[in-house]
């Protein structure tokens, strides 16, 4: 009986060690930095006049259908947010007499949650740090939608063979040496294309040269681990629908914990060996009945 007891507690201790492993093994995870060839976009609310030329250009470049379910009453393309027909949108926010337009599309995060989620890497951080989608590896699980802090990926709900719809930074145009359709057509240069590093410099130059004109920060420089699409605004970012202001990237927590447990797959293999060994020692006993 007493040896039985001791064995029992030894087993509990072993099991407990393995169980708390996930919580304690969380290791420091390096902060992700943009690739050296990273491109980006810089959008400036003070320059945008809401003409929506970029929305039209985006639809044309991506051969997207018009969304006539919105305010257009069946007459014209009028989405009110990103959706299964719309990868880029201009929205209007109004607050206490002030108003601001804001452009929304994929932020091309430096440490993207969607890429961390996707099982077979249908979503991937590709050339120039652009987050691309490959339908052949997509199972339609919609986990990317669940985790994206900007609610960017959209699902073709109306289709029997649905795909994920999101801005891929006009990857075909980039490959052909062209800039994205949306930045190309903007008549006010409210959204511009460039290398990520240059755009970050440009944003800080504008902040410095126009004191009081902007909320004093470049949204996307640090937020959610940094994004390759950067924003300057004269309006609080929360009010423009940027819900989260945290610096930590979304995948940081989950991947810190997971890397701790699954590093080199040692944890699972060790656990299997332990389970097998304990069972081997206990063999025969399970057949005995009281």
């Amino acid at each position: 009986m007493s040896t039985d007891r001791r064995g029992f507690f030894k087993n509990i201790a072993a099991a407990a060690t393995l169980a708390v492993l996930p919580a304690t093994a969380a290791e420091a995870r390096e902060k992700k930095v943009p690739p050296s060839d990273a491109v980006g976009m810089l959008y400036d609310t003070t320059l945008c006049i809401g003409c929506k030329a970029c929305v039209v250009a985006c639809k044309e470049a991506n051969s997207m259908p018009a969304d006539i379910d919105g305010y257009g009453q069946g007459l014209y393309d009028s989405p009110d947010s990103l959706n299964q027909y719309t990868k880029n949108i201009i929205q209007l926010y109004r607050d206490a007499g002030e108003e601001s337009f804001v452009k929304k599309q994929c932020m091309h995060c430096i440490d993207p949650a969607c890429v961390g989620a996707c099982m077979l890497g249908a979503l991937q951080k590709g050339k120039y740090g652009v987050v691309t989608y490959d339908v052949s590896k997509c199972v339609g699980c919609r986990y990317c939608e669940t985790v994206c802090p900007f609610n960017v990926p959209k699902f073709q709900w109306a289709k029997v063979a649905p795909k994920i719809v999101k801005c891929e930074f006009c990857k075909e145009r980039l490959a052909a040496g062209k800039e994205p359709a949306c930045t190309e057509v903007c008549p006010r240069k409210a959204v511009i294309f460039g290398s990520y590093a240059d755009l970050l410099d440009e944003a800080h130059r504008r902040l410095k040269n126009n004191p009081g004109r902007y909320v004093p920060k470049v949204y996307g420089e640090h937020e959610l681990g940094g994004t390759q699409v950067l924003y300057l605004s004269h309006f609080e970012f929360e009010k423009l629908g940027f819900r989260f202001q945290q610096d930590e990237s979304v995948p940081h927590l989950q991947q810190s914990v997971n890397h701790g447990v699954y590093k080199g797959f040692i944890g699972p293999v060790a656990l299997y060996a332990l389970l097998g060994a304990v069972m081997f020692r206990n063999r025969g006993n399970s057949e005995k009945e009281s």
Partner: protein, 390 residues
Amino acid sequence: MRTQAQPIGGPLLTRGYIVLLTLAAIGILLILWRFAVGLGASTGLSDGYPLGLWIALDVVTGTALACGGYAVALVVYIFNKGKYHPLIRPAILTSALGYTIAGASVAVDLGRPWNMWKIPTYFWSWNLNSSLLEVALCIMAYVFVLWIELSPAFMEKWSVDGPPRLQRVSQRLLPIVNKALIWIIALGMLLPTMHQSSLGSLMMLAGPKLHPLWLTGWLPLLFLMTCLAMGYAIVVFESVFSSAAFGRRPEMPMLINLQKIAAWGGLVFIAARLADLAYSGNLHYAGRLDLYGTMFWIENVLWILPLVMMLAFPRPTLGSIFRGAMVVALAGALYRFDTYLVAFNPGPGWHYFPSVPEMFISIGLIALELAAYVAIVKRFPILAGRTLGA
């Protein structure tokens, strides 16, 4: 004396059984319809709430309720309590059915299920950071492992009275499987440890969209604890149920002990959860009596209730442990459901409520599971113990 597992026998098509089959048939028809019209027309899902009832209930909660096999295997094989052996087969059967149904729900839920086969085979594309990949691979493997663990039950019967071909195969295979069983069972404990904790990791990636009372680096551990408590509870629940339904004598002392583990497990779970929240500084959210604070306390009360019931009524009866087990299962189900749906906030303007077909598909799949359970215990040697009065 070994109490040999035996088929229950008796007629299959009782009135209750026909109700189950009808519900299952409705579910299957609706599934066909869902594939014809797409997810938009058949469900209440949206870009804000892309995961709904099928994932939160059938997969996340359903597989935890199907952890009886895992939980009892730990007691028998790791903690070396051989006398619990008679509880294993029925527990493995519910696990095998529960996980198979969860797999079916995933196939119904996926937008592009015809790409599913690529998950285990495109190993060069595996994103090892993805908790969902781990969950998917482990569940696929575990379904397979569970049916192998259960296969002796089928082969024992077939090697006696199966059709000649089946009889020969069974006689040949049975000793081989029995010999390899120890390593398969070890795998059957490793896989749930991995994917049940990963079901927690999965929602860690929702990050700030998940309410701070639920979002923690301990989610994997908390999920593991809940599936074990729910596993023990469901074994108690199921044993009491089949003793009532099939007139068997319940293994009272064992069931009382399992219910004890589940009840104390609830206390450990709350202690871990509160300690973690206090440490992270998020405990103050529990003081707000908004939707989140309220759900948080309902969960905690449900977790502590079985222990209170146990201590308040020190003489356990069949009814009291049955009720206790039900509360544990409910507590775990609510915690998991909340983590996937209630505590998940995609931002203003989004709402989710499952559509009627969505609900009937879930109900249909559960009915199918129950129908299969009844059919299998009536025809194959699963349940041990004597019938009442024997």
